[in-house]
Amino acid sequence: MSKLNIKNLIKSFPSMDRPAVNNVNLDIESGELVAFLGPSGCGKTTILKMITGLFQPDSGDIILDEQSLLKIPTEKRGVVMVFQNYLLFPYMNVNENVGFALKMKGVDKNIIDQKVKEMLELVKLPDIGLRKPKQLSGGQQQRVALARALISNPRILLLDEPLSNLDAHLRDEMRDLIVTIQQKLKVTTIFVTHDQEEAVLLADKIALIFDGELQNFTSPKNYYEKPKNIKAAKFFGGVNFINAKKDNHNLSTNIGTVHYKGENYTDLNEDNIITIRPENIKLSKNNDFNDNSFKGLIKSVIFSGTHTRYKIIVNDLELECSLQSVGLQDIKTDDTIYVHLPSDKIWAMNE
């Protein structure tokens, strides 16, 4: 149960022309499960390695429970990392691997044995204590690595791409296990991933990082409904972007004036961008809507099983709309259609 504050963190490497981590600020509350999300090479693992102490930051500070970690050696930080490829010590069996952290603390052997047993039961692998890591499958190795990390009650648990080396079916199982254990032990956890779906499914909050810079740090829901910028919106599958200008509590665009209810109106610049999720756009053959309704032309209709996706041209602007199941009956390419952008579902953001 520990809270972590990252302040103005900067780290450069001589081989890179931009800082690997550029002025990152993050406040992670106790017991939170946080995802560092971003494409590979964006600096997320570098931040992790600075929290563990493998790298020293150029400037900035990492504060755990009001105490700076920078001067504390790795082994005394109480920060445990599970690496992407598990790194079970090959010369030790599973029991010795899991008990390693307690052995380093000088805990009595009987207590270690007891705790190892408990941890292996927690990760649902009670009977493999005497095997060597080589004899385990990838999923089993991952769970042993998790048990090994958790045995000493770490203040912070770091997981580097915990699911990327697993098969699809194991991935779901492992994801559930991580959430279950995290909620049970309430350990503050940070995991790194490049998969936004994984981040959304697992995390309480997501830190989106591009090119070493933190884009946004908020709940998964907000990334879909209230993205901070166009990059963040695009990373989470946003497709509809409309240039807009402030216009007396409304937004004026080249498809017409849009009525806006978002709470961030006062924070918006004069020039901004409107976005709306494809599934929030409503369609009608007759103009059934009295608000934010625009006339358009169907460009394409694609049925994808659970949804039907429409591409609609409104005043030279292409909008994508997704309706459940088969969508509207009797609509085909080149038909005229009315597009409704519900004013509580549209979101404007600064460029």
Binding site: T52, G53, L54, P73, T74, E75, K76, R77, V79, V80, M81, F83, N85, L87, F89, P90, Y91, F100, A101, M104, K105, K134, R148, A149, S152
Partner: protein, 287 residues
């Protein structure tokens, strides 16, 4: 591979082994015989005279426990040379590994400018004939006071040894993942324990092979010991050469047995590291 080829390979191995072992048998017979000359297939008379002359076995009549103690306590040249060879071998092995460990780690794990050039310079003693560099080195060693003493001999032995040790150990680190060390650190192991519990077990098999190379290269070193030691540091190879040139086959055979026996013993105990995969591919294996 088809069966016939397999058979031929196995026969080739046997043939090689026989070619290596036959002269050793002749050695043994020679060392325990008296005047074994050409037409005789086996020696007419067995004798311990060579060993008596080397002062390793007392003369007939004095072969009691006290006799052996007294003879060996008189510090015969062979024992002096044997102890010198052993101690120089062990010392340079340890020193070479301590020097090579950080060098091999850097060469194996990192890429940097002029890396190939540095490797080439490090390997060059294996290509150059020793006489080419030892004469120049000798002049410096004399002026530094390293000539004609034990320390100088140890130092010059490092020249041909270092390439083997660094290259062997670089091989270990090419297959090594330093993240394991960091994993141990985050689990609460300090630097010393990380080295002892994580790094050392991973590099130990390769290190044994490197140590074996180091010891054997030092053990068989003649020219460098001869020139830098200036005859004052007696080692077994020097003794073997001088005995061989004296023309007594039994004596030469006896001293040669003393010369090869420790080497064979060490090879025997380390063979499991040299054979197969374990030697060349230590580290943490494929991950």
């Amino acid at each position: 591979m088809n069966n016939n080829l397999k058979k031929i390979n196995i026969y080739a191995i046997y043939l090689g082994a026989i070619i290596l072992i036959l002269p050793l048998i002749a050695f043994f017979i020679n060392a325990f015989s008296f005047r074994w000359f050409y037409p005789q297939v086996i020696p007419k008379e067995l004798s311990l005279q060579a060993w008596v002359r080397l002062k390793l076995i007392p003369k007939p009549g004095q072969r009691s426990f006290e006799g052996f103690i007294e003879l060996w306590a008189s510090n015969p040249t062979v024992i002096k040379a044997l102890l010198n060879s052993l101690s120089i071998g062990f010392l340079v092995t340890i020193v070479s590994i301590i020097i090579a460990l950080p060098a091999a780690r850097v060469l194996g794990l990192l890429n940097f400018r002029f890396k190939k050039l540095i490797i080439f310079i490090m390997v060059s003693p294996t290509i150059l004939p020793p006489i080419a560099f030892v004469l120049g080195l000798n002049i410096n060693f004399i002026s530094w006071g390293f000539s004609g003493n034990y320390f100088g001999v140890c130092l010059v032995h490092l020249v041909p040894i270092m390439p083997y040790v660094v290259l062997t150990m670089t091989g270990i680190f090419a297959n090594y993942n330093p993240d394991f060390e960091h994993q141990a650190r985050t689990l609460g192991a300090n630097k010393t324990r990380t080295f002892l519990l994580i790094t050392l077990p991973a590099i130990a098999p390769g290190m044994v092979v490197a140590a074996l190379f180091a010891f054997l290269v030092s053990w068989s070193q003649y020219l460098l010991t001869f020139l830098i030691g200036a005859g004052k540091v007696m080692t077994l190879p020097l003794l073997v050469f001088s005995t061989a040139s004296s023309g007594n086959p039994a004596l030469t055979a006896a001293i040669s047995i003393i010369f090869i026996f420790p080497a064979i013993l060490i090879l025997f105990f380390t063979s499991k590291f040299v054979s197969g995969e374990s030697g060349a591919t230590s580290g943490f294996g494929k991950i």
